[in-house]
Assembly symmetry: C2
DNA sequence: ATCTTTTTTGACTGTTAGTCAAAAAAATAA
DNA sequence: TTATTTTTTTGACTAACAGTCAAAAAAGAT
């Protein structure tokens, strides 16, 4: 006998409507950012009234945070897949680097929203529930990468006498976020002569790994084959940009 | 005979009032962020009417951008001082690293505003004039660091066969911004066990420099004395944190 | 068919960025 | 000094939008 369904029809319909709202909100975020649309427009788009939107979300910020968390969950999922790549620890880290890039392309809204998340007033307007959901997915991403670093140190692929694994993970996270952000900046892109932003991101990750003495170093090893294997095995449906970079 | 003054009394008074407005706006930005104050409150604080504020700035965003540009100018000035440090190219880069940290402390509003600058709608609301002023100071910062990198390559302190100077500069900028941002994030701070955020920033800069093979590498050279000299010669009045880190 | 409960709705409120006609102040002329 | 013109300042007003809530509609129970 199957267990009784956890959700009633009503609850399922409610959830489906929430999905609908989130889908439309994401579209608006991608197309227009945060300011250039309002709740009335969203209500019209989903064909429900504004009051109904507020049955799902406590504020516009709460809604947008929810969209961001959905993206972040995708990132964590991608990280998980990448971390399962079979190879040296640094190769697995590299797979995560690819995951970052694939994520940036498939969730173009995310980095824009992440900027807003730095503002205290944004968080204050979101509900505690959504804040926790976001923190949870963030922690997943962290843990996946950190586990690889821990393993690298355990296996002797990275020296353990200079940094804690957490410090090394922090460095990788910092350089990744920073590179993504900076390579979006039009002015900097011109100054630095960046034509392939995502390639810059991965190059900076390489620099940090080399700085951390994560073996094998870039100069001691040719990662071309690794990269091809990652693309084949982990991201067979990756967006074209990944190949275009090479 | 002295040359006729470029500015009339009226113009000078106008400029003085602009300073006054900017000072109060910066205070509000530091204390409350962007949202939690409005133009009426600012008008009251400076003891002028709202209409007068709009004679100086085309919008709230225009005003805030102006505050940010003033900070950015300070950063460029600090960079200039740091770049004049007498020593190896990597030591001068290190001096700039310290400048970044000193800047972060003395202009705590800046990073918060920089986040908002990522949003297109923000730029759209600012005047062309202010946009250019900001770009100008940004370019100054870039040039100062880039010049050191160029010199490092010319002197053979850094290999020139792997990266252009601009790519190397971009890496340094990325890691710096990313580290500052990430070390503000409370969640990440706990996960990574960060107690001295600014120390993490400088450590990440070191990692990138090592990754770039910028000689002398961290493991080949003790920078303790350099650091002391930088603090003494370049930032004699540096905030206490700099010392507390050690 | 009637009553009760739940859900949806959109007109309404409060807030705030930005405007502009009128008032005040400053400059100029008589 | 006084009258007139020009410039500057002012704050009441408008428009836009997030969020609310009483009333209407729909769903469910009897």
């Amino acid at each position: 006998m199957p267990p009784p369904p956890t959700f009633t029809r009503k609850e399922r319909e409610f959830q489906a409507r929430e999905e609908l709202i989130l889908t439309h909100a994401r579209r608006l975020l991608i197309d227009k950012g945060f300011q250039a649309w309002n709740m009335d427009q969203l209500a019209e788009a989903v064909e429900y009234s504004k009051g109904t939107l507020y049955q799902h979300f406590t504020s516009k910020e709460d809604l947008v945070l929810s969209v961001a968390t959905a993206s972040l969950k995708q990132r964590a999922d991608m990280f998980e897949k990448a971390a399962a790549f079979r190879g040296l620890t640094r190769e697995r880290c590299r797979a995560i680097g690819f995951a970052c890039c694939e994520f940036a392309v498939s969730c173009p809204d995310y980095f824009h929203v992440e900027m807003m998340l730095k503002s205290t007033s944004f968080w204050e307007k979101a509900s505690e529930e959504r804040r926790q959901a976001h923190a949870f997915q963030g922690a997943r991403c962290w843990r996946i990468l950190n586990n690889i670093v821990v393993e690298a140190m355990a296996l002797g692929d990275m020296p353990r006498d200079q940094f804690t694994p957490e410090q090394a993970t922090f460095s990788l996270v910092s350089v990744t976020v920073g590179s993504h952000l900076m390579s979006q900046e039009p002015q900097l892109r011109v100054q630095a002569g960046i034509t392939h932003p995502l390639l810059s991101v991965r190059r900076n990750q390489d620099l940090i790994c080399d700085g951390l003495s994560w073996k094998p170093l870039l100069r001691d090893h040719d990662y071309t084959e690794t990269d091809e294997r990652i693309l084949r095995e982990v991201f067979p449906h990756a967006h074209l940009w990944l190949k275009a970079d090479h």
